[in-house]
Assembly symmetry: C3
Homo-oligomer: 390 residues x 3
C-alpha cells in the first residue's frame, strides 16, 4: 500500500549489535543468490531466491551504490560487482550503510572477514560476540592436547570430561576479557524448551564424558545439559547474552524457537545482573516484545526480521513497537556473507523508522522530539548501554 | 505511517465491559509510572515505562484534559495532576472518556475505588464482575468461621473441605444475584490447559481438603481441580464468564494463556447457555477471533490489547476484525489504577474505529451505514446484549 | 485506514488451485448465510453471519454483478438471486471472477456441482484434486464387495484389511491418472502432529484391521497410522499434495493445525520429488511462508485466509509476502457452496494485489515490471508449474 510520507527522523550512525563477517572473494550469480535465503538447498526449480523480499530489497538499494539504476537485473548487478572487485564493492556498500559500530558474531565457519577487517572496510569500530556452542566445540577439539592437560587422554573419559569443563571455564573467562557479549544458538541445537536452572556439576561431568567419548573433531554440541551449562557459564561473566529465537535456517524447528519457551530461564536469571537479548524472534516477535515489556533484563532485536522482510520491514517494526519498551529494542542487520545485507539492513531500518515513527508524528500521535529520541535509542543508544560500549 | 483520515464514525457512549477501580490517593512519578506496565519490577536502569506505547498514549491524550499541551513531560503532567488533586483529576479524566457503563472486575486487592465511586466520578452506571479465584480464596479465609459452620474446624479436614465447597456454592449464588458476570484468571494460576469437563464431587472434595490443610489466610488458589470447579460453578449460574487469555503480568506464562487451549472447554460448554468472553488475547487475538467465529457462545474483547498498544490500536483492532463476527467483539479499557487509562482506552478505541473502519468506508469497501452500525455494536450494543444490561 | 491507490497491476485469468463445487438449488436467507461462516452451528442469537468480513465482502462485490447497488440488504440480494435462478446467478458470478482454471477438491459431500459443471458455468477449464481421507473411506465402504475381492468378508478381519490396503493402493493409482493432485485433511482428523515417516506395512495392516472391524459404512478415517499411510501413498505418485493447515470449521483444534507441526514430514519428503502445498495457514500463515522459504518443495496458499478476511485481505497477503518466495505462493478462493465466494475470492485477491503490490511500486520499493511479474506468478503461473497444467 502506498503511504503518505511521514515526518523526517534523523538517526545517528547505527550500532549494529548483531552481524557476521562477509565473504572476501568475488561471487557468481549462484553463490551470491544462496546468501539471500536461509534455505540450505538451492531454490526450487523454476524459482530463484532473487524473487524474495530480500532479493528485491538488494535490487532496490544496492545497484545505485555501485553506479547502476535500482531494480536492474541480477546479472547486470553481479557483473558490475565483479568489475569493481569484492573488496571495493564491499567498501562502498559497507560505508553506505552508515554503521558506526559493528558487534560481530564470530562463530560462523567459512572464509569470512574478521571484525577488524569489517571495521577497516566500513570505516567503523568493531567488537566481538563469542558464540558459546562453537567455543564449546573448539574446546572439545583441543582440550587434553594443550600443555597442562596433555595427560588427560591417558586418564580416560572422566579425566577428559574434567579437562573439558575446566578448559571451557577458562575459555569463557578469556573470551569475556575482549568480547562484549556471548551468543547462544541453543534454539538450533536442541530447541529453547530447556530446563531453566543451571545443571549440577555432576550432571555436567557426566554429559561431557558422554559427549566426548567417541566424538570426532568438529562434531556439534547438542546435549541439553551442556547447552545449559554454557548458558549459565556465560551468565556468570555478567556480559550480555544473545539468544537466537524465531526463524533461521531449516536446521531449526520453528516452534522450538518461540522466545516464550525461555520464560522460566528469564525468571531464573532475573537477579544475576546479566542482560538477555532475544535475537530476531519472527514470527514470534510480539512474544519477544512482551518478554522485554515485563522483565527488566530482557531486550529484543529487530535484525533478521527486518532485513528479510524488505519492504515489509516497517510493518514488522511496528509490531515490535506495540509492547517492546522503546529502551529495550535494538537495531541490527544480521548481515552474513554479503556486504549488500549491511546496506539493505540499514536502509530498510531507516526507511521503516521514517515511515512508521515519522507517520505517527505526522498524525499527531507522537511528538517530533519523542520520535527523534526513540529513533536514536533503537538505532544506537540502547545497544551502547546494554553492551557498555565506550 | 501517516494515514488518510477516513469517514467519521459516530459512536454512542461506551460500555466498558472489563475494567477495575482507580487509586484514590495522589501519585508521585514513580508510583504513577508503575501502572503503565504489566511488569512487576521497576523499569530497567536507563529506561522508563513512560517510554512505551501506553506512556506515549497517556502523554498524548491526557494533558489536554487537565489543561496542558499534549506530549508535555511526565513531571509537568504529574505536578498538574497533584495541583488538581487525585479526585478532581480523576473526575475530569473519567468524564472525558465518555463511558456510559462500567462493568468492574472487583477482584483486585489494594485501595481502589468501588464501582459506585467510579460511577459517581464518571457520571455513569456501574455493574460488578466477580473474580472467581478471589471468591474461592475469601471463602477459604472465612469458611468454618461463620455461624452455621463454626464447628467445621473441629470436624477435621474432610469437614473443612465440605464446608468450603458448600460455602463456595453459596457465595457464587449470592454473587450471581448482583453481579452481571464472573471472571476467571485460571490462565495465571495454572494456565489454560485444563481438563475441559467439570471435576467429580469426590475430586473436588479431595482437592479442597488438600488445599485447605495447612493453608495460610490469603494464600492463592492454584489447584487445577478447584479452578475447574470454580469455572463450572460459574457456568451453572448462566451468567457470562470472562476468561483471561493472552498477555498480562509476568506471573503468567504466555503460551499457557493462548485462548486456543480453551477449545475443549468451549466445546464442553456449548449447550449450557453461558456466554464465554475471551479477554485480551494478544498476541493470540486472531486465535480468540477464530473461536468467536466458529462457536456461537464465544465472544472476544479488545481491552488490554488496544490500551497497551497505543498508536497501534488500529492495527490490532483490524486483526481482531478479520475473523471476529462483528456481533461478537466487545470494547473495554481494562483500565486499572489510573483514571488516565480509562481516557486512553476510550480515545485509542475511538481513534482506531475512526481510522480503520472509517478508512474502509472511504475506500468504498464498507457502507457508511454498516460502519456506523458495527461501531455501535462493538462500542456498546454487544456488551448490553451479552451481559443483559438494562 | 484509507490508502492511497497504488500502481495498477494487470493480472492474467486466475488459476484457482483450491476450490469446491457450488450448490445447485436456490437458497433462502438462512441456508445462504450458513455458507458465510466455518461455524457448524447457526449464528448466535442477536447476530448474523452477514455481519462478518465475508458477509460484507459478498455485499460489496456481488450485488452489482446481479444488477443491484453494492451493500444492499441481504434480503434484497437473495430475492434478486432467486429471481434470476441459481443457475443464471451462478453463471454471472462465476464469469465475473475471471478464473481461467478451477482445480476442484471433489471430496466434500452434498449436492454440489462437478468440476465439469463448474467449468461450463464459468467458461473455464477444470481439474480435479482427490481428497485422500474420503478416498480411504469410500474404499472401506466398497472393498471386499467388488468382483475379485468378493471373498474378503469370508476371510475375516485380516483378509479385509489386506483387501482394503490393496484396493486403496489401486484407488490412489487410478485417481493419479486423472487428478492433478491429492489433498489431506489430517489436520481435522488427528491434527498435524503425526509421526513423519511412512508406517511399516505391518502397522498399516493392524490399523486397517482395527478400523474396519465393526466400522459402519460412511464412518470417518481418523487413525493416525492410516492417515500417514494415505499421505505416503499419495507421495508415491509424485503428484502435488495439498495439506490443510490453519483455520477451518470447529471440528479442528487450531493449534493442532499449525503448519510448523509438519516440519519433520517436510524433511522426510524433501527428496521424493513431491510438491507440498500448505493450504490456508491462517493465523499461522507466517509460519507457512517460512516453510516455503527454507524448503524447496513447500508452497503456500492464500485461499481461505483472503476470502474470509474480506477488506483485510491485503494485510494478510502482505504478511504472506514477508517470507514466502514469490515463486511459492498460490492464489485460490477456497470457494465452497456459493458461486459468490468465487467472485469474492477473486475480487479481494485482485484488490489486495493492486493495493499492496501496487502500493510498493508507487513507493518506489518495487519496479512496475517486477510487480507485474510477481502478480502473474501468484495469480496463475506458480499453480501451472506446480500442478503441471497444460
Amino acid at each position: 500500500m502506498a503511504l503518505v510520507t511521514g515526518a523526517p527522523i534523523e538517526l545517528p550512525p547505527l550500532v549494529d549489535h548483531h552481524c557476521h563477517g562477509v565473504v572476501r572473494r568475488d561471487l557468481d550469480l549462484r553463490s551470491f543468490e544462496a546468501f539471500l535465503s536461509e534455505s540450505a538447498a538451492p531454490a526450487a526449480p523454476g524459482t530463484t531466491f532473487f524473487d524474495t523480499q530480500t532479493g528485491f530489497a538488494v535490487r532496490r538499494w544496492c545497484p545505485p551504490l555501485l553506479g547502476l539504476e535500482p531494480h536492474c537485473p541480477p546479472e547486470r548487478y553481479l557483473a558490475r560487482r565483479r568489475e569493481l572487485g569484492a573488496a571495493e564493492a564491499g567498501r562502498r556498500l559497507l560505508r553506505a550503510a552508515r554503521i558506526g559500530v559493528y558487534v560481530v558474531d564470530t562463530g560462523l565457519p567459512g572464509d569470512l572477514s574478521t571484525p577488524a577487517e569489517l571495521a577497516a572496510a566500513g570505516n567503523a569500530v568493531a567488537h566481538e560476540i563469542v558464540r558459546l556452542e562453537r567455543l564449546g566445540e573448539l574446546t572439545a577439539d583441543t582440550c587434553g592436547t594443550t600443555d597442562a592437560d596433555s595427560t588427560a587422554e591417558a586418564t580416560g573419559t572422566a579425566g577428559a570430561a574434567e579437562a573439558f569443563v575446566r578448559d571451557l571455564a577458562k575459555a569463557v573467562r578469556r573470551a569475556a576479557r575482549t568480547a562484549v557479549g556471548f551468543k547462544s544458538v541453543a534454539a538450533y541445537r536442541h530447541g529453547l524448551a530447556l530446563a531453566p536452572e543451571p545443571p549440577a556439576a555432576g550432571e555436567v561431568a557426566r554429559a561431557a564424558a558422554h559427549w566426548l567419548a567417541g566424538r570426532r573433531t568438529g562434531a556439534r554440541l547438542t546435549d541439553p545439559v551442556l547447552l545449559r551449562h554454557l548458558l549459565w557459564t556465560a551468565v556468570g561473566t555478567g556480559l550480555p547474552l544473545q539468544l537466537h529465537t524465531g526463524f533461521g535456517d531449516p536446521d531449526l524447528r520453528l516452534d522450538q524457537a518461540d522466545p516464550v519457551l525461555l520464560t522460566d530461564f528469564v525468571r531464573a536469571t532475573a537477579d544475576t545482573g546479566t542482560s538477555l537479548v532475544l535475537l530476531h524472534g519472527y514470527p514470534y516477535h510480539r512474544q519477544a516484545a512482551y518478554l522485554a515489556n515485563v522483565f527488566p533484563h530482557v531486550h529484543a532485536d529487530v535484525g533478521l526480521a527486518l532485513t528479510h522482510s524488505g519492504v515489509r520491514a516497517g510493518a514488522v517494526l511496528a509490531e515490535f513497537l506495540e509492547l517492546a519498551p522503546f529502551g529495550k529494542l535494538l537495531f541490527s542487520t544480521d548481515a552474513y556473507g554479503l556486504p549488500e545485507l549491511y546496506a539493505v539492513g540499514a536502509e530498510v531500518f531507516r526507511d521503516a523508522v521514517r515511515r512508521v515513527v515519522g507517520g505517527w508524528v505526522a498524525d499527531g500521535a507522537w511528538s517530533q522530539a519523542d520520535a527523534q529520541r526513540v529513533g536514536a535509542m533503537i538505532a544506537a543508544d540502547n545497544a551502547r548501554r546494554v553492551y557498555a560500549l565506550e
